[in-house]
């Protein structure tokens, strides 16, 4: 049991340090954890992302709390949230003291030039694998197994959200309504 808390701490500390670019950057790390340990299913993880989006609070903290709870209850969520926050907290305090020296540092700017595309590629690869698991019910391209209803919902949501300003709350609400309609009326 102690080992489980240690692993939670180790994995979520990595999210805190290496997930660059907002709450969504934590998503590829959570999928990696899912794949490695099977503490929760892919479906649970995707539900978790949705719930983190529609509840108040920073999405990264919400996801850490939820994933920790699913893995090891309330103590698990305390460990995961705390581990994720502690290293950035210390770095933030140190950098705040040194700020004037770092603000125009070329190495840091160059570093982020590499980190942002990496974060973007990580997220895209998750988007692609989710498309396969949710819409094709498979891990390979197989158009015979495509879930036509969900694919239709996907296209409708994608188009409507590209026209309107991206709003996570509305997107998820529409998804829920769409899911119920597909299940009961179509």
């Amino acid at each position: 049991m102690l080992k489980l808390y240690f692993l939670l701490c180790y994995e979520f500390a990595q999210i805190g340090i290496f997930a660059i670019g907002g709450g969504y950057a934590a998503i590829p790390f959570l999928f990696h954890i899912q794949d490695k340990y099977n503490w929760f299913s892919i479906e649970e993880l995707t539900n978790m992302i949705a719930i983190s989006n529609i509840t108040p609070g920073p999405i990264g903290i919400n996801m850490a709390t939820y994933a920790g709870f699913k893995t090891a209850g309330i103590l698990g969520s305390t460990v995961s949230t705390f581990s994720m926050l502690i290293v950035p907290f210390i770095i933030t305090i140190l950098i705040t003291k040194l700020f004037s020296k770092l603000q125009n540092n070329d190495t840091i700017k160059n570093l982020f030039m590499g980190l942002r595309p990496a974060a973007c590629a990580l997220l895209l690869s998750i988007g692609i694998s989710l498309l396969f698991t949710e819409l094709f019910n498979t891990k390979e391209i197989n158009f015979e197994s495509i879930d036509i209803k969900q694919f239709g919902l996907f296209i409708v949501l994608l188009i409507s959200m590209s026209f309107f300003k991206k709003n996570p709350l509305i997107t998820i609400l529409l998804g829920a309504i769409g899911g119920v309609i597909l299940n009961y009326f179509i």
Binding site: L111, L157, K166
Partner: protein
């Protein structure tokens, strides 16, 4: 103005409850509660701390709260502020997680969540689009993005390794090219 730790915690707790839809929402909330109403920090300081938060790893809202708390009352202030941001989302998520397991087997809940998971894919893809605009804007970033995506699609790789590798290659590339700014 009263700057007790309890007061700092309380203000950030109130801000935490209102944080919906991404860490950046914290900036206008800080402007209202900390700059305008309490004058604990100035507008210029807010802009500065926003800039610092961009180059620190971690949850953006938590980092911004840490810096603001530090400016108000050093280390104690930083701890009070980050606790204020974390505690409300922590409690709300725990309640949600505990309640949801009671309803998870209802057919209507499962149908709704099937649709919601499709919505999450849409959100992920739209976020990629936003990130792409801000991050992939030169030959180097385009090549880096393509290589990483290919690696990710064909083999299992730890995101930590990908981030470290990308950081090193960017610094290495800049050293060779003598590029000063992206």
């Amino acid at each position: 103005m009263n700057k007790s730790l309890i007061e700092i915690f309380k203000i950030f707790f109130i801000i935490g409850i209102q944080l919906l839809g991404g860490g950046y929402v914290i900036v206008p909330l800080l402007k209202k509660y900390i700059v305008d109403e309490r004058k604990w920090i100035t507008d210029e300081e807010l802009v500065d701390l926003y800039a610092i938060s961009q180059c620190i790893p971690g949850i953006i809202a938590a980092n911004i709260a840490t810096i603001t708390g530090y400016k108000i009352k050093k280390l104690q202030g930083a701890i009070a502020a980050i606790m204020g941001i974390v505690v409300p989302s922590f409690i709300i998520i725990l309640l949600f997680a505990m309640l949801l397991s009671n309803f998870a087997n209802l057919e209507i809940v499962q149908a709704a969540f099937k649709g919601i998971r499709t919505a999450v894919i849409v959100l992920v893809i739209l976020t990629v689009k936003d990130l792409w605009k801000k991050s992939v804007n030169s030959i180097f970033t385009y090549i880096l993005f393509s290589i990483i995506l290919l690696i990710l699609l064909f083999c299992k790789t730890s995101p930590t390794l990908v981030i470290i590798g990308a950081g090193f290659s960017a610094i290495f590339y800049s050293k060779i090219k003598g590029v000063k700014n992206a």
